[in-house]
Symmetry: C2
């Protein structure tokens, strides 16, 4: 089974598609650019969703649900927003089909044309702020800390499972505040939650920073991002949190009366992460044998394989171990399938990224030991059956930490500080990765670099040290380095 | 606050809309027929979803996600299905907007017309069975037990929050089996899970039965339903489970090789419940003071109100009780708001359906007691502070049971056995409710009754006793009574 996937060194992009397919994560669908998220892939997304949802709720957010459709005119209300989102999107123009008068099948009923076209939401700021107008009258109604889990559609030309699909699943938070300061703090809070989730759960180290004006969300005054480095040296924007100022409040006329009864527009944030995170998870940890999952997001953390098959005596030990492990809150199953051989199963669980595999054979039982294989390092050892549950629990923690350290080490290895454009190009064509370089702060220099190299400014890192230097292109003075990379 | 809602006796339909609004469950949106599910309403749906999801997973089902869009031609592949679903639906015809050449705003780009229109899924049998063709080759790939949580769109003419909306949230299970028997068992298993969920969690008693051919799902060979009785004497179809035979397998050419290597079409089921359940919950338990929630689905089970406000000494007791209650796995909060008076808060929590309210005042503390108010019966009592946590836990269980018994009692009260059409009409115009009457098994008689009275056969109850009688309309012999009612 493992031999069927392309090696990363040979073709990273093909390796990625092979993993998605062979690990049962996603499949193409009959609809251009839309994927089917298969059970193994959806189970990972569920783990992500549940953890993020807990983190949002712990910080006072609640969930709600807004309509899938947005009246076309709403998109034009915020000037920058329309430029960013009103273009490539799915447009509903009719509400009825009828039997084809000229033959078989169904056709659009021309009599059922909508008065105003509806857009399938590419993001929900407009419909939500149109609703907030009715919900917010006074400072007592604020803050409004609302999140929704939803599907959105952006008509993408070139798609890739999880990373860029026409329809994707995400969460979008939309908050409303009485003061600028509070809205800014909210945008930072979520930025911090995203970074913590990426590192503590996905074991994916990220650089936190602000986007340049060019790369900001359409309608935002500030966009905060977390940027991760994939194994092929390209960056992945993994989550963004936007301070929207009063832009949407003004566009949708959402005002509130302060405690002094002074009327003002409401301050806003929005923020989101999507099924793209599954793509980031794959490209951070996986190897040529298949998917590698951090234990905290693995739908199945431990699998027990009877060798060569579940005889009564092996099964008795397996079930005892299974229930001990379960009692520690760890997800585990015994593979009882007698039609497949152990070697085949080993390859399959490696492919699917199960963090720990326990092999139980009669000879080992007689010696009081079982075989423990860890997926991250692909190493095996024999461990005493007595106390194997606690061993497994500790090992899951170790794997979680090891994956984060490994990814950090990789990233540090692929991070360069360069001072000339020549060097910049050399690094990009060579090892790739993150490049810290000086920038004069102008759109002009930023776009020139992008045009020449396809690399973009991923972010202006938070807590960036001040340092004098010269812009790579213009030679003009700069007082800090920013983070460049080619990106997904 | 409570005085603002219409009494049930006065106008049940207006009462329902008042509850939805005043309890913060849902709001109208700018899009015709689509509602905004507000935080209080969404939290109830989340509790329902999480519990159903556990029940599905415990019985071997896994979640996946299929595309929002369905190519138009797919809908025509199953002959009955197209009649049922291809009519009133949202049709995507274009994938781009452009700036209006004649002025401001955006218009549909005529150059971006789709080759084949896409339908926003009204249900997903067609796209899923088109996918299953690639997933199922042999008996080893079966059974496939997949569920998805998703939004769907049906262009409804007359809508009502939760009960009938253009877009709604639901789960749809789609399973594939090697034998007819196994698929039939699956349809029954889910029917049973739905009934258990309705009674054990929603405290909503249901009649389990099969639909008549007229009322079956478009494309099903058998539709099983759970039917609940609302307070106004109308029935609510609360969930359906369909045995689809080989209809979709044939329409999408999904065959498998058996263990004897004989090729056959796959057997199927599909089943779903939706946000409609929230409407059913409201109309089963609530009263003229607002929402009443069964404890097992109440997002907040207990609220503690300091009287008249959180002084340090009251707060100390409140926090101790809060943490004791929390430790028992019960959701609880202290209302710290000093701007609102206790009376206002009491009315608000009654409106929102919080099952238990604890009032803590200094004089009661001095006596070692606190006031416990139960929402279902609107009664209050004083309970010793010592041990109030265990008291609350027991009371939540009691409320859960009381609500179910109350609803069962109501239903029994509104259930009639009638033998003549005159009597049938009299009951319908009088107390309404469920009517058991004889039916000759023909579509003709069924439709005549519907035409004359608007009542329909809700189901042929499971485990129906055999009994001789005469059809109400035709006078022809019948060997069992079926369940009639007017329905939502």
């Amino acid at each position: 089974m493992a031999k069927e996937i392309t090696a990363r060194a040979e073709d990273y992009s093909k390796w990625y598609l092979d993993i998605v397919k062979k690990a049962g994560l996603a499949d193409n669908s009959a609809v251009r650019g839309c994927m089917v998220i298969k059970p193994n892939g959806y189970a990972i997304w569920e783990k992500m969703r549940d953890q993020l949802d807990r983190m949002f709720k712990e910080t006072g957010h609640v969930n709600a649900y807004f309509p899938l459709f947005i009246p076309k005119s709403f998109l034009s209300k915020e000037a920058d927003h329309v430029e960013g989102f009103a273009k490539e999107c799915a447009v509903v123009t009719h509400h009825r089909l009828m039997n084809n008068p000229n033959g078989s099948g169904v056709v659009v009923d021309p009599g059922a044309k909508l008065e105003e076209e509806l857009i399938v939401r590419p993001t929900s700021e407009t419909i939500i702020w149109n609703t907030y107008r009715d919900w917010i009258k006074s400072y007592r109604d604020l803050p409004l800390l609302i999140n929704q889990w939803a599907n959105v559609v952006r008509w993408e030309l070139r798609t890739r499972p999880f990373l860029r699909t026409t329809e994707f699943l995400w969460q979008e938070g939309h908050t409303a505040h009485a003061t600028k300061k509070e809205a800014e703090e909210e945008a930072h809070l979520i930025h911090e939650i995203y970074a913590r989730f990426a590192e503590d759960y996905m074991a994916m180290p990220v650089i936190k920073g602000a986007k340049t004006a060019n790369e900001r969300f359409a309608g935002a005054e500030q966009t905060y991002t977390i940027e991760a480095l994939m194994q092929d040296g390209k960056a992945l924007q993994a989550g963004t949190s936007h301070f929207l100022g009063q832009n949407f409040a003004k566009a949708f006329d959402v005002k509130f009366a302060s405690d002094n009864n002074i009327e003002d527009y409401v301050w806003a944030t929005s923020w989101g992460v999507s099924t793209r995170l599954v793509g980031g998870l794959i490209m951070t940890h996986s190897d040529d044998a298949g998917l590698v999952l951090p234990p905290r997001l693995a739908p199945m953390q431990v699998v027990i394989v009877p060798i060569p098959k579940p005889t009564p005596s092996i099964l008795e030990v397996a079930q005892r171990i299974e229930s001990q492990i379960k009692a520690l809150g760890i997800s585990v199953k015994i593979d009882m399938d007698e039609k497949k051989r152990p070697g085949f199963k080993f390859a399959q669980y490696e492919m699917e990224g199960v963090p720990i595999r326990l092999g139980i054979g009669q000879r080992d039982i007689d010696k009081g030991v079982i075989e423990v294989a860890r997926r991250d390092e692909r190493t095996k050892s024999f461990v005493s059956i007595e106390g194997v549950d606690r061993y497994v629990k500790q090992l899951l923690d170790d794997i979680q930490v090891n994956l984060l350290y490994r990814a950090m080490h990789f990233r540090d290895d692929r991070t360069s500080f360069v001072d000339t454009f020549d060097e910049f190009e050399k690094v990009l064509e060579g090892k790739g990765g993150f490049i810290y370089a000086h920038w004069d702060g102008t759109s002009e220099s930023e776009l020139k670099i992008k045009e020449k190299t396809k690399a973009t400014i991923r972010c202006i890192p938070c807590d960036n040290p001040s340092e004098s230097g010269k812009d790579l292109i213009s030679g003009k003075p700069s007082n800090q380095r920013v983070l460049f990379a080619k990106a997904y």
